[in-house]
Amino acid sequence: MSAEWAIETLDLSRTFQEPRRLFARGPRRSINALDAVNLQIGRGECVALVGPNGAGKSTLLRLLATTVTPTRGDACILGYSVRSNPAAVRRVIGVVTGDDRSFFWRLTGLENLLFFGQLQGLHPATSHARAVTLLEQLGLSDAADQRFSGYSAGMRLRLGIARAVLHSPRVLLLDEPTASLDLRHRAQVLDLLRASISPDGAALIASHDAGLAASLAGRIVRLEQGKVAPKTARR
């Protein structure tokens, strides 16, 4: 299956319902986190996703990463629909989320990468070599054999980036990849990301970091209240 766009969304919407509470009165509130977003990202493109907190950036990334299913609409990544073929989508994407609970806290950084490499179906030797290289590129070599629970916030984030690019995915979905990084590590991350964007794929980066957007992204998309803000849709 081929597709013109690396990432394409059609009326992509997601509504969240307030969690059911005991003794709550009245109907449950629902929140439109994302409201009919239409977006096309071309091959080889790197797009920065900006907007205030709560604008729906994370939701959009989660929808594209197939961890949340759309309420309405659909999105395609390299022609694969997140709705009907999430397995195929997962094979082509690499994701960074800020969640440090997505690692095994009692395993070392390297062990964590090897575990996820194994899930991705990489050959153990390949996986190990690639993990060691990535850890070095991200300045984590010294901490490779240290338990994840002992990592600082910045180290956790960098390990997350290593995990995202471990299997050389064609499409990168990054949520705040440079938050809480010092300048040296930020530069390392930017270098790695620049090198990791495949000409055949794309990268979508949600960030508050204006510099990152400027240096990495060819285009900025602005989300406001779950919608694409019209003026900034194209640069």
Binding site: A65, T67, R90, D99, S102, R106, L107, F116, R147, R163
Partner: protein, 311 residues
């Protein structure tokens, strides 16, 4: 899980650091309620039971010192041997059965489909109904002549065992009855499954993990502290199986369902041999302690605690 990395946090042998001293103080502060309660309500009766095991006592007189006589009696007591054998048999069969079944059911129930809450409640109901009423009902259901169970088996053309009246079937029947109240374990497992971070599943799913892989690599290790808890508790509970054998079989037929707790009860309240009953209790506690220590020792190999260094 895999090889443990060297501990990075402080830990030096010998004299306690100030932090360790502070930890120590706080530890005792937190467990103070239990310590007080233990000394007030439990230590006494426990020591009393152990003490009585070296004596003959008839409730009203002063206990007569018998030394280890009761423990020597056990060696040649055929009923005790039967009770020991039956109790271990019950544990060995019912613990894995209960754990596996409840984990399986919890995994099936842990989804947001319609009707799941109904199923969850249904599985929990048998553990709500306790006491004589339900044991009597078991008696009816498994009555070899008129019971619904044999009626059902008969209409399916299957053999109809004598259940509780057949020495070969009696213990399996009791085990089956025990599994019925597995609903409580299911609920603990459900709570444990709730504590597994969904982020970990998301990350693994994005990285292409299948269901089987996620179950083996994430769910099982993440609920392993709960599994460990349940294994210890279910084992201890299985060593105390009493109500069904007491009400339904009184240990029969031919001692096939005589369990250690029932034999202890019979000695204390039927035969008025309190000393011997206490000695049997000590043996039961020793067995339970040994099994628990074994489980604790093995736990290091398979129980995964997030972020806590093992003890």
């Amino acid at each position: 899980m895999r090889t443990p990395a060297p501990e990075t946090t402080r830990k030096q042998p010998g004299r306690l650091s100030r932090a360790a001293q502070r930890d120590q103080r706080r530890f005792y502060l937190f467990i103070l309620p239990w310590l007080i309660g233990f000394v007030l309500f439990q230590a006494g009766p426990m020591l009393f039971a152990i003490g009585i095991s070296f004596t003959d006592w008839l409730l009203v007189d002063t206990p007569v010192w018998r030394g280890l006589a009761h423990y020597r009696t056990m060696r040649s007591d055929a009923a005790f041997h039967a009770a020991l054998r039956n109790t271990l048999y019950y544990s060995a069969a019912s613990v894995p059965l209960a754990i596996a079944l409840s984990l399986g059911l919890a995994l099936l129930l842990n989804r947001r489909w319609a009707g799941m809450s109904v199923f969850r409640t249904i599985f929990f109901v048998p553990s709500l109904v306790s006491g004589v009423a339900v044991v009597l009902v078991w008696g009816w259901l498994f009555n070899p002549r008129y019971g619904a169970v044999n009626g059902l088996l008969g209409s399916l053309g299957l053999p109809q065992p004598g259940w509780l009246s057949d020495p070969r079937w009696a213990m399996p029947t009791i085990i089956l009855l025990g599994v019925w109240s597995v609903g409580g374990i299911v609920v603990v497992y459900l709570a444990g499954l709730q504590n597994v971070p969904t982020e970990l599943y998301d990350a693994a799913r994005i990285d292409g993990a299948g269901r089987w892989q996620m179950l083996r690599a994430i769910t099982l290790p993440m609920v392993s502290p709960v599994t460990f808890f349940l294994m210890v508790m279910v084992t201890i509970g299985s060593l105390q199986v009493f109500a069904p054998v007491y009400v339904l079989t009184e240990g029969g037929p031919r001692n096939a369902t005589l369990t250690l707790p029932l034999y202890i009860y019979q000695n204390a309240f039927r035969f008025q041999k309190y000393g011997y009953a206490a000695a049997l209790t000590v043996v039961l506690i020793v067995i339970a302690l040994a099994l628990t220590l074994l489980q604790l020792a093995l736990a290091r190999r398979w129980v995964y605690y997030t972020g806590w260094s093992g003890r």
